[in-house]
């Protein structure tokens, strides 16, 4: 296998790299860029731990090859944290203890933010439905639903 050149933007920074075609985006972010906030849970697209944003859409980084991200704009939990975009959501997660081990949390935050961008006033059922591809073994989900619901409420009150 010969490496392929890719050029992309990750959290607003230009990145150029030589990668093997078989390398998936999650491993690229973790192993090449040391952005270890993107977690690997199942490596077959079921658990949601590796959720990142690619060109504005949420994607499972374990199901996308790094070469497919060539020319794209990737946002990971590190970037969304530094930009402050999910600061209120993180604050709600903290207050509601919506994380225990924290391994699902980066993916959960990114999926939740995706919902809140599409729907400013989601019902609890809609929140549960939107997060139903993100596995959390610790919390039982209720605290996460509460935190997303309260963030939506706060954002509406500020809108």
């Amino acid at each position: 296998m010969t490496p392929t050149s890719i050029a992309l933007e990750v959290n607003g920074e230009r990145v150029e790299a030589q990668v093997l075609p078989r390398l998936n985006l999650a491993d690229f972010l973790r192993e090449h860029l040391q952005l270890t906030g993107t977690h690997v849970g199942c490596e077959h697209g079921v658990c949601g731990a590796c959720t990142v944003r690619v060109n504005g859409e949420i994607v499972r980084a374990c199901l996308m090859l790094a070469v497919q991200a060539d020319g794209g704009a990737i946002e990971t939990i590190e970037g969304l944290s530094d930009s402050g975009e999910v600061a209120d959501l993180q604050d709600a997660f903290r207050k509601r203890n919506a994380l225990q081990c924290g391994y699902c949390t980066p993916g959960m935050l990114i999926a939740a933010q995706d919902l809140l961008k599409q729907n400013a006033d989601p019902s609890r059922e809609q929140i549960r439905e939107h997060l139903s591809g993100n596995y959390c073994r610790c919390t039982g989900y209720q605290a996460i639903v509460d935190a997303v619901e309260s963030t939506a409420r706060l954002r509406r009150s500020r809108a």
Binding site: T36, G37, T38, H39, H44, S81, G102, R128, S132
Partner: protein
């Protein structure tokens, strides 16, 4: 909250102004995890680190005829390929037995199989390469010749003479058997107006931690020290075992546990592949990393709950339960797990059946058999869900038989709240439980009578909803009775060291560990409250055998009750020492002084006298200004272990409200309630979230989770698409209430809460499903309650 017993006045150390005890405060240091800046073992990279991948057996039982690794060794990036024989020269085998589990036997288990594989997924070779991908490539080039042997897969026939014996040297496939006979069981059944029997079947399931098991082992030959980075719940246990089998002293092994991506008992054991990784690091004199992939997790993380339990209950027409009898059978795989053994779950089932109830007539047999499937061992709420499902299932069947409401039969048989201390039929000692107060609270939370009216109304519309109730007891705060007495080097005590730093902040080192439960938070809350400093001034260090006192860790619902008490006692000493110094500086007496918000104040009027920051400056930098003869000790260490009671039992009750679609067999969970009594509550939110998470794990077992093996011992659903776990869409909201009966054995009064949710959830759901299906005359005593199981029972599948 209802106070089931009054707290004695001596608990004032917790009841100080600005106390954090009993208050919901956010856990410290969550930003690290929320920003993706934690450090899980899978994130760790060290210089010269190599990666190991294991070639695993495709057969459940086979002789290894030949391993040809020549081609693999020549592959790019490959450093070495090791077989079981080669590793056995570096690391010795082990046998998972404990002396207090009388008769328990197992066979020697090696880090990598030698000659024979005993389950599909057992490692037969290790490939170490410069990257995981290259190691995986090379693994595919190893040629192993197997001679397949007959696999023992059905626990029901494992003991029959025609069935092959898995370990010939053991004589048979019986790993352990326990019988128990208390009271007058035969007389009880003879006196009963009705006797009901049923067989309860439990699906084998597993923990599915989101972060798979992972370890980085780093042998530094020049220091002759092994550093193990591992997401373990019991670092000192790992240290002891690694040293023992590598021929090292414990001081030569350091175990570091940073962030852990879920544990639930999965990460409290010693796995063969982890042992192999330690050995490979020693062999290769460089860091070696192992991260299980999801298929490996399903095939090698311990499984649990593969039980078939026959149960029998005798009841009088007035609802009095007169006897319980069980015959439990469980298959644990080919080896008893090390070092906690695989006899504990069956043993707990015998201990716990009938536990909430008055009858003293109880007979039990439990048999634990070997089979050629993955190993089974302790997973969250060990044995409790089985004992609870059997007991509560039988109680509901008895109620149905005599036409009594399920609540009423429980009221008539639960041990009275003023009957403590007392002893259960299996010999367990209860200090103080609150079954009736808990049940009353639950009924008012769920509005039981209204639900019954709603249920009756909906039945007329052919909508089948059910209510299920399950009372339970939970083992928490285990003393040495759990493992220590059986010879395992697993500490039941925990230690905490607290010190004032040079700026008046507090550094606290504890031997309990954090996997998300809130160990760090509860420790900081206790230290801050007892000392009189803000939590933000307390830094908690855990998960490092070089930098914490010796102790057990976090498992068996012990962190708060045992580690919390050690923190309390250590902080009391530090506080006394600080006040001694302060009185010398201020020419006062300790009795006249207090500490509040990081400042030494007058105890009578709260007037500030000296900040801890200033006191620390004097002690550390200007001790020459202190009066002669004063040697301040601004660090204190205390250890704690319960001695009076072997276990601090807790109790609670759960209820499920659900709807069964009798056309499709689907169950929709509508609501779940829990009332739990874990004694003193340090942080209500953390306790509630432990319970919610535990309930959902139990709901997974009730409805979805099952490791499906075929008759040849092949695990057929070893991936997350086919093995179903609870996701947010199917889970209900869960309401939680508390009754508070502190243990008087410790000053803190806290018992454990980590497993209560899992203990009773499946029983409540199963009872609710049977309640919903009662118009059809159908009773199901098998979980998971999949649509297929429900439709089959209804005769429609």
């Amino acid at each position: 909250m209802t106070a089931a017993s009054d707290k004695p006045e001596t608990l004032s150390v917790l009841d100080r102004p600005n106390s954090y005890i009993g208050k919901t405060v956010p856990r410290p240091n969550l930003d690290r995890l929320m920003q993706g800046r934690g450090q899980y073992v899978s994130d760790i990279e060290l210089p010269r680190m190599a990666h190991v991948v294991f070639l695993r057996s495709p057969h459940a039982h086979a002789r290894i005829v030949k391993i040809d690794a020549a081609a693999a060794k020549a592959m790019p990036g490959v450093i070495t390929v090791a077989t079981g024989q080669e590793l056995a020269a570096v690391i010795t085998p082990w046998v998972g037995v404990l002396s207090h589990m009388k008769g328990l036997k197992s066979a020697p288990q090696y880090a990598i199989a030698i000659d024979r594989v005993c389950w599909q997924g057992e490692a037969v070779a290790a490939v170490v390469a410069t990257s995981r991908a290259l190691a995986e490539d090379a693994t595919e080039s190893i040629v192993v010749e197997y001679e397949e042997l007959e696999a023992v897969t059905d626990m029901r026939t494992a003991l029959d003479p025609p069935t092959p014996v898995i370990h010939a040297a053991l004589g048979d496939n019986l790993a352990f058997e326990r019988t128990h006979n208390a009271g007058a069981v035969d007389q009880g059944f003879a006196d009963a107006d009705e006797v009901v029997e049923a067989e309860f079947v439990f699906g084998r399931h597993t923990g599915v931690t989101l972060e798979p098991r992972a370890v980085v082992a780093d042998w530094n030959a020049a220091e002759a020290r092994l550093t193990i980075y591992q997401g373990s719940q019991a670092p000192h246990m790992v240290q002891n075992i690694a040293a023992l089998h590598l021929g090292l002293e414990e001081r030569q092994v350091r175990v570091v546990c940073k962030d852990v991506g879920g544990s639930f008992g999965i990460k409290v054991h010693i796995y063969a592949d982890e042992m192999a990784t330690y050995a490979l690091s020693k062999l290769l004199r460089r860091p070696v990393k192992f991260v299980a992939d999801r298929v490996e997790s399903f095939n090698t993380d311990i499984h649990a709950r593969d039980h078939r339990c026959k149960g029998k209950i005798g009841v009088k027409r007035d609802g009095t339960i007169v006897a319980f009898e069980i015959d439990d059978l469980t298959g644990i795989g080919p080896y008893s797990m090390y070092p906690r053994t695989s006899a504990i779950e069956a043993n707990q089932v015998v201990n716990l059946v009938g536990g909430p109830y008055l009858t003293k007539n109880y007979r039990a047999r439990a048999r634990v058999v070997f089979q050629n499937k993955n190993v089974m061992c302790q997973y969250r709420a060990v044995g409790h869900p089985i004992a609870c499902s059997v007991t509560e299932g039988l109680v509901d069947l008895a109620a149905m038989k005599i036409g009594m409401d399920p609540v009423e039969i429980r009221r008539r048989n639960l041990i009275a709240d003023d009957a403590y201390p007392c002893v259960s039929p299996s010999g367990l000692r209860f200090e103080k439980l609150s079954h009736h107060a808990s049940l009353n609270k639950l009924l008012s939370m769920m509005d039981y009578d209204r639900l019954r009216v709603e249920q009756a109304g909906l039945r007329k519309q052919n909508i089948h909803r059910g209510v299920g109730i399950a009372s339970f007891i939970e083992v928490t705060n285990p003393s040495a009775a759990f493992y220590g007495v059986g010879g395992a080097k697993i500490s039941s005590q925990d230690g905490v060291a607290v010190r004032l730093d040079a700026q008046g902040a507090v550094i606290c080192q504890t031997s309990i560990t954090e996997q998300g439960q809130g160990s760090e938070s509860l420790t900081a809350q206790i230290v801050g409250s007892v000392l009189g400093v803000p939590m933000s001034r307390v830094r908690v260090i855990l998960g490092d055998t070089d930098n914490t006192p010796y102790g057990g860790g976090t498992w068996a619902s012990r962190g708060a009750g045992i580690g919390g008490e050690a923190a309390l006692q250590a902080t009391k000493i530090l506080r006394r020492n600080i006040l001694d110094v302060a009185s010398a500086i201020l020419q006062s007496t300790p009795a006249e002084l207090d500490i509040a918000d990081g400042i030494v104040v007058n105890s009578n009027d709260g007037a500030p006298r000296i900040e801890l920051k200033e006191l620390a400056r004097i002690v550390y930098f200007r001790p020459d200004t202190l009066p002669p003869g004063i040697q301040p000790e601004l660090m204190a260490t205390k250890h704690y272990v319960p001695r009076e009671y072997p276990f601090a039992f807790t109790n609670g009750v759960q209820a499920s409200w659900l709807e069964v679609d009798t056309e499709t067999g689907f169950v929709k969970l509508l609501k779940h309630w829990v009332v739990e009594d874990c004694g003193t509550i340090i942080n209500p939110q953390l306790v509630d979230e432990q319970i919610r998470g535990g309930v959902v794990q139990g709901l997974g077992a009730a409805l979805f989770e099952k490791c499906i093996y075929d008759e040849r011992g092949q695990l057929t659903n070893a991936n997350m698409a086919d093995y179903l776990v609870p996701m947010s869409g199917e889970m209900p909201d869960i309401d939680i209430g508390h009754v508070v009966s502190p243990t008087t054995e410790s000053e803190l009064g806290a018992k454990g809460a980590g497993e209560a949710g899992t203990a009773g959830a499946a029983a409540a759901v199963a009872n609710a499903v049977n309640d919903a299906l009662s118009p059809f005359g159908v009773t199901i005593t098998e979980i998971p309650l999949t649509p297929q199981v429900i439709l089959t029972a209804l005769g429609g599948f």
